[in-house]
């Protein structure tokens, strides 16, 4: 009960902003040109062009199974691409791209034997930071992300929204300029998801990360992104590009019900329906 109450606090978003502002991300543009990929005979991605600059969130929506996750794995260099070019902060080599990208998978994938604090600081430990220093540095952000008091809790004791925040902080603590978010809130219930969206909007607001946000939720994409790419069903190509004039409004409820937002959502849904045909 306590965890659920904490998630909704309006401070959380503002506090999140401070964290992102202090993050060590310098910013690196992502450029994708004529990207194509196949799994054997199965063509997953036909052709995708995409450009994202620091401080920008590019939302990627598409029918399920259209290769959205594959796209992020290709950008991160976790999978070698078949054709086309990907550059992240000027780097095209997969290993160098991986060093610039922080990938947040669909599931929170928290390690059940580590506390929330140690889970969030995992990247620092992997990089060789001593345990106490890693804990100290992680704890600073912990408090400001609305996770205070849960440092020692094991993932099994946290609610879905809290777990997702810890997973996001783990991604942030990797200190990479590019965030690749793969349906970060897909596993949450509708109310928690809405809360997490305004929370993320606050975190990403003034931030200099380059963010690719994959989602199947059109509303989530339009609310959080500067630009939304609508992908067609497999093999994926860009069916529509929608520029969002006022992304990440402070009042989410008012924003998503405004006439402008509704019009954009209609357009995106129509593009999706046409692309799936």
């Amino acid at each position: 009960m306590l965890t659920r109450l904490r998630e909704g606090t309006p401070d959380a978003a503002r506090e999140g902003r401070a964290v992102a502002a202090t993050a060590e991300a310098a910013g690196a543009p992502v450029r994708i040109e004529a990207l194509g990929h196949a799994f054997g005979e199965l063509r997953a991605i036909e052709r995708i062009d995409l450009e994202a600059v620091p401080g920008e969130v590019v939302g990627i929506v598409g029918p399920s199974g259209c290769g959205k996750t594959t796209l992020l794995e290709l950008v991160a260099g976790l999978r070698p691409a078949d054709s086309g070019g990907i550059s992240v902060g000027g780097a095209t080599d997969p290993a160098e791209r991986l060093e610039r990208c922080a990938y947040m998978p669909q599931r929170d994938l928290l390690l059940p034997w580590l506390s929330a604090l140690d889970n969030a600081g995992l990247a620092l430990r992997i990089a060789g930071t001593p345990r106490q220093e890693a804990r100290g540095r992680t704890a600073e952000s912990f408090e400001r992300l609305g996770l205070a008091g849960f440092e020692r809790a094991r993932p099994g004791e946290l609610s879905g929204g809290m777990r997702q925040r810890v997973a996001f902080l783990r991604t942030l603590m990797a200190g990479r300029p590019v965030l690749l978010l793969d349906e970060p809130f897909a596993s949450l219930d509708a109310i928690t998801r809405a809360e997490m969206q305004s929370w993320l909007a606050g975190v990403l607001g003034p931030d200099r990360h380059t963010v690719l946000l994959v989602t199947h939720d059109v509303e989530e994409a339009i609310y959080l992104s500067d630009r939304v790419l609508v992908l067609s069903s497999r093999p994926a190509r860009v069916a529509d590009r929608i520029e969002i004039a006022q992304p990440r409004a402070a009042d989410r409820a008012a924003s998503v019900t405004s006439p402008g937002f509704t019009a954009l959502r209609e357009r995106a849904l129509r593009s999706l329906a046409e692309a799936a045909r």
Binding site: E73, L78, L98, L109, L111, P112, A123, R154, G156, A174
Partner: protein, 260 residues
């Protein structure tokens, strides 16, 4: 109250079985039916008497067996986990070692034990070899299963955070495998006692197996049954100890790495 109810059924069954045995032995049902001497079928009360009267003999020999079991088990645990890691990390090692691993389990201990006595004498070594050989397999196979059970998405996430092969082993695969290794250890510790006694039985100058051997030669059946009771107590105690350590070590919910 709940604890009492939990233990009521097994305790009641044991009491009934012991009672029947006592009656059967006292009234010579078994010895008459089998047409053997009465003293060859000791009643539970005779065994209890032997447990008390032979207590120093049982304790000193029980201690010898316990040491063999603990040492042999420790060797098997270290080697088993090391082999599991090696097989897990290297495809070449997997192909080379796995057939040997399974082959080692097909060696009949009954044949091997006397040969080991010829090679190593009546001392500690042949007992350790046999105990370790018996314990090695369940520990290795279970640990290996655990190492392999890691969620591929978790591996991908660790790679994305910059973790190399050894970091993934240390931070994810070994903690995941720990509950599996404990399952293997629980199986191993139970059979290890049998292995130790058998090794003593074949050739030894001390230990519970030796005591049973001697008692049987002297037709002291109550004493050999008493030795078996001590043996069971050792096995149960070690099983409980492993379970206790497991509970202390694995404090997280190990049923699944993630719940979505």
């Amino acid at each position: 109250m709940r604890a009492a109810r939990r233990y009521l059924a097994p305790v009641a069954l044991i009491v009934v079985l012991l009672g029947l045995w006592e009656l059967a032995a006292q009234w010579d049902w078994i010895s008459n039916a089998l047409n053997i001497e009465d003293f060859l079928v000791p009643a539970p009360s005779d065994i209890a008497k032997s447990l008390w009267e032979d207590r120093s003999l049982l304790l000193s020999n029980g201690w010898v067996t316990l040491k063999e079991v603990l040492l042999g088990f420790a060797i098997a645990a270290v080697a088993g986990i090391a082999f599991a890691i090696l097989i897990h990390l290297s495809e070449l090692a997997r192909r080379a070692i796995y057939p040997l691993l399974i082959g080692s389990q097909t060696i009949p201990i009954v044949i091997l034990a006397p040969i080991l006595v010829v090679w190593f004498g009546f001392g500690l070594t042949p007992k350790l070899v046999i105990v370790a050989l018996i314990c090695f397999f369940p520990i290795t196979v279970n640990t290996l299963d655990g190492l392999r059970s890691v969620d591929p998405d978790l591996t991908k996430m660790m790679r994305a955070l910059g973790a190399g092969r050894l970091q993934r082993l240390w931070r994810v695969e070994l903690p995941t495998a720990l509950p599996y290794a404990f399952s293997g250890a629980r199986v191993a510790i139970t059979v290890s006692v049998i292995g130790a006694v058998f090794a003593e039985y074949v050739g030894s100058s001390e230990g519970l197996g030796h005591l049973i051997n001697q008692a049987q030669a002297q037709l002291l059946t109550a004493r050999s049954f008493a030795a078996v009771v001590v043996l069971s107590a050792i096995a149960l105690g070690l099983f409980a100890l492993v379970t206790l350590i497991e509970r202390r070590v694995i404090t997280w919910d190990s049923r699944g790495v993630t719940r979505t």
